[in-house]
């Protein structure tokens, strides 16, 4: 089952978001999220000696991530924690071996999920989150975090709140939400924010590039609004899956 939504946040568009839950049969919870897949139709009319030429450009961009959750499961003795569940995250890039940048993604995702889970309910166990990058067209970190959150929700582990990640970029004087990789090439800074569903406070933040404090605050407010849309999307997704209980 699939669900898609095109968001409009104050005339700024987030790319279409699609999510499918329980895509894998073995893990306790799994989710596949794709962001993107839009096309632009451009007509270019050229008149030369009364003739018309029309060019049509098709443009596709799609960031896709699959996340799987196993938990609570048995934990290795060196990672055992007596008062809460130990969270392990594995991120696999599309090709090649994981490098230091992927380790940092794992750390951000692990800490974000640790905040969201009620890990004190399952001491001396492990929750293992595995992410596989399928395609990257910008906004990969936010797509990964959304997929991990959906997979955790699908597995039924107790969570304090859900999280939604939104990425944005700062170009000359504009703040653009959910940029694709083509948009990012001309950016001054790109920021990823993660908000919780309870009070919409900032759970995680990762930036690259240079920006001012005011620009940071403005981007944070815009992304917070966009995260509300993403939480609505989660709710409609769950409603669709629940019909047969």
């Amino acid at each position: 089952m699939e669900d898609s939504a095109i968001f409009n946040v104050q005339e700024q568009w987030l790319r279409p978001l699609r999510c499918e839950l329980n895509v894998l049969s073995r893990p306790d919870g799994s989710a596949m999220i794709t962001q993107g897949s839009y096309f632009i139709l451009c007509c270019y009319v050229n008149t030369f000696l009364y003739s018309y030429r029309v060019h049509i450009f098709f443009f596709k961009g799609n960031t896709a991530v699959v996340a799987a959750v196993y938990g609570p499961v048995d934990v290795k003795p060196q990672r055992i924690l007596v008062d809460k569940a130990s969270i392990e995250t594995v991120y696999k890039p599309k090709s090649g071996l994981p490098n230091v940048a992927d380790r940092m993604r794992e750390t951000i995702i692990k800490n974000t999920c640790e905040t969201a889970l009620l890990s004190a309910i399952h001491p001396r166990t492990a929750v293992c989150i595995v992410l596989q990058e399928m395609q990257d067209s910008g906004g990969l970190l936010s797509c990964c975090i959304n997929a991990a959150c959906m997979a955790l929700m699908d597995s039924g582990i107790a969570m304090k709140f859900l999280v939604a990640a939104v990425s944005c970029m700062i170009s000359e004087d504009d703040i653009i939400l959910d940029p694709s990789d083509k948009d990012l090439m001309g950016s001054k800074a790109s920021l990823t924010f993660v908000f919780d569903s309870a009070k919409k406070n900032l759970v995680a933040s990762h930036t690259s590039g240079v920006f001012s404090q005011e620009q940071y605050h403005e981007s944070l407010l815009k992304c917070r609004q966009a995260s509300c849309e993403i939480f609505e999307f989660y709710r409609s997704l769950v409603k669709k899956y629940i019909i047969c209980i």
């Binding site: 230091v100 800490n111 908000f195 995680a204 990762h206």
Partner: protein
């Protein structure tokens, strides 16, 4: 008595201190530890700096090497930062391949240096397509007592300021490279990004410049890097959700701290220059 109380219930130990707005090491909640910078202390390296923030000690050494630029980026050199957290610095680390924390720190250091455009890589190119400098920046932590990223970035920036590139002559026809180690010019370093780490304790209290114990008890960490009053990096890897006012306060604090640290780096470099002129006077 105090030490036993800390071992039995560390969270309550900290909570009781914070209720009186003080930390176990006597600092206020928003007080930074004293920082010490010493530059150019390693004779065998092409540039070096030692930074001590409280007990956290990081040594950064720079080594230069000549190499052939990549064909697709034929007019730039390389800046290769690396952070090592050996078992020496903390009982948390074991011998073997770099731990996750070391890898994340290396990545953050590389990101911060590139975001802040500290070094224009084109200045490292000697002869386009043929010869370029590779600057290897190794930050080794000698004592990990929290805020490791703060110390590493400051050490890296200070070390880069002390690097002097020797003059290189390259004869293209005969393919001979001559290096003149005595004729040196400094690297064109623009700006100095300064990180500030905050710890969030039990979702409510924000501590500045946490020690290693505070970091392990904290429910969240935020590292904000500032250069020239602009933010280069706001890194919050999960942890307790932070309200807007608190985040804004952290950003403002990071900006004031950056000014203080910059003054410190300048003072250290000035002291080094004074020593050099004194030595030169003695020799001549």
């Amino acid at each position: 008595m105090d030490a036993q109380y800390k071992v039995i219930d560390p969270v309550k130990f900290y909570r009781d201190h914070l209720a009186h707005k003080i930390r176990p090491d006597g600092r206020g909640l928003l007080k930074f530890r004293p920082a010490v910078i010493n530059v150019d202390s390693i004779g065998t390296a092409d540039g070096s700096a030692i930074v001590k923030i409280g007990n956290t000690t990081v040594v950064c050494g720079v080594k230069l090497e000549l190499g052939v630029p990549k064909p697709e980026e034929s007019n730039i050199g390389w800046l290769v930062p690396n952070v090592t957290l050996p078992p020496l610095c903390s009982p948390r680390f074991h011998p073997g391949p770099p731990s996750d924390e070391a890898q994340v720190a290396s990545n953050m250091l590389a990101e911060i240096l590139s975001n802040a455009s500290v070094l224009d890589l084109r200045a490292l190119c000697v002869v386009p397509e043929r010869l370029a400098w590779a600057v290897y920046l190794d930050a080794v932590c000698l004592n990990h007592d929290g805020s490791i990223l703060d110390a590493c970035v400051v050490a890296a920036v200070a070390a880069l300021r002390t690097v002097r590139l020797p003059r290189v002559e390259h004869d293209a026809d005969k393919d001979i490279t001559k290096v003149f180690p005595d004729e040196r010019s400094s690297l064109p370093i623009t700006g100095a990004p300064i990180p500030t780490t905050h710890a969030i304790f039990e979702d409510e209290v924000i501590l500045v410049d946490p020690t290693s114990d505070e970091e392990s008890l904290a429910s969240g960490l935020v590292t904000i890097t500032v250069q020239n009053d602009q933010m280069c990096s706001v890194y919050k890897p999960g942890g307790s959700p932070l309200a807007d006012e608190n985040m804004q306060a952290c950003l403002s604090r990071a900006r004031t701290r950056a000014i203080q640290m910059n003054n410190l780096i300048e003072a250290a470099l000035a002291a080094r220059d004074k020593e050099e002129t004194k030595d030169q006077k003695l020799i001549s």
